[in-house]
């Protein structure tokens, strides 16, 4: 989808009719919209989203969502049936041209602002053809689920790069790369209206024993739903607390008194996390060694005794046997010696051969002792290896524990230092931080508890499913009901497996994109990756020298992310998804008809918290997507960003927003140096408040 033009009429603070022609030429694909804080950047982003999705599309941070029509215009209107807010968007998608129009009259706004009139026309050889189900068609062209990744506030995307948001990443991949179809099918197959109905049908026809199991399964399902809701709530609380913590951390980082200590703390916390992960791995490994190989250590006495027996037999000449008793028995049974003498009963010769039987050895005995000898050797070797591995692993565990202790002591020291600072702001921030960290720990502990409970319930559900299936029904219709239930359950399970495979297979491809994009911004020494469990991480290589062995080795370390780094990482992730969506048809999938699609990226304030990454992002942002639309304030634009964007020669269209109102935002400027001569963007206006869109020459 490439956006060509938008007209906005009386939408929020845009009074009258305003329009923007977007840059559509691939080599000049950037549309830059200059707007000071409070001038209407959020309203403009929402105009686009409202145009596509109506009320549902409005962003969370937009206040008074029921008030869509320009307030002054609405207040002055004497004809509510004809006064309206309207957004019209012209766009192309896969070579087709569309015109989308959404309108809300004042009359309708007073009744229910969520109900709007929408028209979508496809231009076929110059003839507009209205889509019969416009909203359905829009959803097919650009599903609402992906809109959050294409139209966003740059300062609010950093949450994607937070560890606990791996499910959001997985969902984003599925949404953007067309796998949502599989997820929807799974959810619908498992829905109460499908699986529940089939289960009821079986229950009505089956035995009392099976009925009881089905009832228990229904109860377990209800519990799973209930615990699932708890998990969602807890997850949201974790995200909210994390955002609060990030904000406090960022304030501490910006405070001169706390800057260095806060940076050190961020790095230590990351180290702590890495050490905890390593400790868990080492402890698990230790447990595994004890469970699987420790028998060798406890078999010392037995090995010793076995060795004594083998040695004794060897010293007595019983092993290896000089002559086998089976051979002598053959001679005796045949009554003939190898020297051709007859071994008749009672003869001297026979007696002599019978005498030899006392010294002869048994072949099987010989083999058994040989095998025992061999096994003893292996147990001894195994015991040695196990002892060494145990010692090494335990030493590693102790070392990690020591490191962890040191890191935690330093963290505590930083907390004491910051908490004891005379600066009141630092003192208060540290206090808030401590409370939030405590709350976060409790929430994370709760998460573990919920996960364990859900795991237990899911295990029980699976057991019950098998138990129900294994109880054979005597009646034919009960058997049929069981087969249908099993078929739906298995179809959902197969689809789930397929979805997991496809998502996992996309991860390395996405990783390549992420890494490629990320290196362009951050430079050498760092790289970004999507881990096996779908967490976005920035890594760096650290060369460490090992004093004990006098060698050097490289360690891949995860870097503690500042808000700016998280924002860059999230931006890179979204850009990589957009890039992959474009070449979707090249990537194998089970879903038929997935073609590559172009999407624009519309970013409100993408340079907000980027600090040192601003030039890198500004240089690279035009290459993010086939079409890039950026809303930017003067504080974010002036300097590096302006230079990089200008040097890129990719700016196709430029606009600025003028604000007419009683007061100006404290951060906003009245004049912008965005053209040869300064441009006035604020006009004092006491009677009415509104924003206008003006074009700048590029």
């Amino acid at each position: 989808m490439i956006l060509e033009r938008i007209t906005i009429e009386n939408f929020r603070q845009f009074r009258g009719k305003q329009e923007i022609f977007f840059a559509t030429i691939p080599t000049r694909n950037v549309t830059l919209i200059h707007a000071e804080n409070g001038f209407g950047k959020t309203a403009l982003l929402n105009a686009l989203l409202w145009g596509f999705y109506g009320h549902e599309g409005l962003t969370e941070d937009l206040p008074r969502k029921e008030s869509i029509i320009h307030e002054g215009t609405a207040a002055r209107s004497r004809t509510p049936a004809t006064t309206s807010a309207k957004v019209t968007i012209w766009f192309t998608h896969d070579g087709e041209k569309y015109r989308l129009e959404r309108e809300l009259t004042l009359e309708q706004q007073q009744l229910d602002a969520k109900k709007t009139d929408v028209v979508l026309e496809l231009n076929k050889d110059g003839m507009p053809i209205a889509e019969r189900h416009p909203q359905q068609r829009i959803q097919a062209l650009m599903p609402f689920g992906i809109s959050g990744f294409l139209f966003f506030n740059g300062e609010r995307i950093d949450h994607l790069a937070m560890e606990e948001n791996a499910p959001l990443i997985t969902d984003a991949i599925r949404q953007m790369l067309g796998l949502k179809l599989l997820q929807t099918a799974i959810d619908d197959l498992r829905h109460q209206s499908v699986l529940g109905k089939l289960r009821n049908e079986l229950r009505e026809r089956t035995s009392a024993e099976k009925q009881a199991k089905i009832d228990e399964q229904t109860r377990v399902d209800d519990d799973i739903t209930e615990w699932g809701k708890r998990k969602d709530t807890n997850q949201k609380n974790i995200q909210a607390t994390d955002a609060e913590l990030a904000s406090v951390n960022s304030k501490l980082e910006m405070n001169r008194e706390a800057h260095h200590l806060q940076l050190r703390r961020a790095s230590l916390e990351k180290q702590e996390q890495g050490l905890i992960e390593r400790l868990t791995t080492a402890t698990k490994r230790l447990g595994q060694i004890v469970a699987e190989d420790s028998y060798a250590l406890f078999a010392g006495d037995l090995v010793k005794r076995g060795r004594e027996i083998v040695d004794k037999l060897r010293s007595e000449g019983k092993i290896p046997a000089r002559v086998l008793n089976s051979f002598l028995k053959e001679l005796l049974d045949g009554h003939r010696c190898i020297c051709k003498r007859h071994l008749d009963d009672g003869s001297v010769e026979r007696k002599a051969v019978e005498e030899l039987m006392h010294y002869a050895g048994d072949q099987q005995f010989n083999n058994a002792v040989g095998a025992l000898d061999n096994a003893l050797g292996r147990i001894e070797e195994g015991a040695e290896h196990t002892r060494r591995t145990l010692q090494e692993t335990n030493a590693e565990r102790l070392k990690i524990n020591d490191d962890l202790k040191a890191v935690r002591e330093e963290l505590a020291e930083i907390h004491h230092k910051l908490g004891g600072k005379a600066d009141e702001e630092v003192h208060k921030l540290e206090d808030t931080r401590e409370k939030l960290a405590l709350k976060q720990r409790e929430l994370l502990a709760e998460q573990v508890k919920i996960d364990l409970k859900l795991e237990e319930l899911q295990k029980r559900r699976e057991e019950l499913r098998k138990e129900i299936k294994d109880i054979t029904d005597s009646e034919a219709d009960a058997q049929k009901a069981q087969r249908r239930l099993t078929a739906v359950e298995e179809a959902a399970a197969t689809l789930q497996h397929i979805l997991d495979i496809e998502t996992a297979e996309l991860r390395p491809i996405l990783n390549e994109e992420i890494d490629q994009h990320f290196r362009k911004i951050i430079g050498i020494g760092y790289w970004a990756e999507l881990s096996d469990d779908f967490k976005l991480k920035i890594m760096k290589r650290l060369d460490v020298s090992d004093a004990a062995s006098d060698t050097a080795r490289s360690l891949n370390m995860e870097v503690a992310l500042s808000q700016g780094q998280r924002q860059v990482t999230s931006l890179v992730f979204i850009a990589s998804l957009v890039a992959l969506a474009r070449r979707r048809s090249e990537i194998g999938t089970i879903i038929k008809g997935l073609t590559g699609s172009e999407y624009p990226m519309v970013m409100d304030s993408p340079f907000g918290q980027l600090s040192q990454f601003r030039p890198g992002v500004a240089r690279w942002i035009p290459k993010l997507a086939p079409q890039v639309i950026i809303f930017v304030s003067s504080t974010q634009y002036e300097g590096d960003v302006a230079k990089e964007l200008k040097d890129s020669s990719r700016i196709g269209k430029r606009y600025y927003l003028t604000y007419h109102g009683p007061e100006i935002h404290p951060d906003a400027k009245r004049e912008l140096k965005i053209a040869r001569s300064p441009v006035t963007v604020y006009f004092e206006e006491r009677r009415d408040e509104y924003t206008e869109i003006c074009e700048l020459e590029t």
């Binding site: 599989l182 209206s193 049929k480 078929a487 298995e490 197969t494 495979i501 496809e502």
Partner: protein
């Protein structure tokens, strides 16, 4: 072994799909066909009825 070296057309997920019994494969195809048309809609009560109908038609 084809399972270990899937070609671009024989993706791992396709092999997984082919491992499923015929009845399940048919049910999955039918459900995906129905879902394509309505997956983006918020209200789509009919989909459950249609899935049930397919399950009953295919599993006798």
């Amino acid at each position: 072994m084809p399972a270990e070296n899937p070609t671009p057309t024989e993706t791992r997920s396709r092999l997984e799909f082919q491992k499923a019994p015929e009845e399940i494969r048919e049910l999955i195809k039918a459900v995906l066909h129905e879902e394509r048309a309505v997956m983006h809609l918020r209200r789509r009560d009919d989909i459950y009825v249609k899935i049930l109908q397919h399950a009953k038609r295919l599993v006798q």
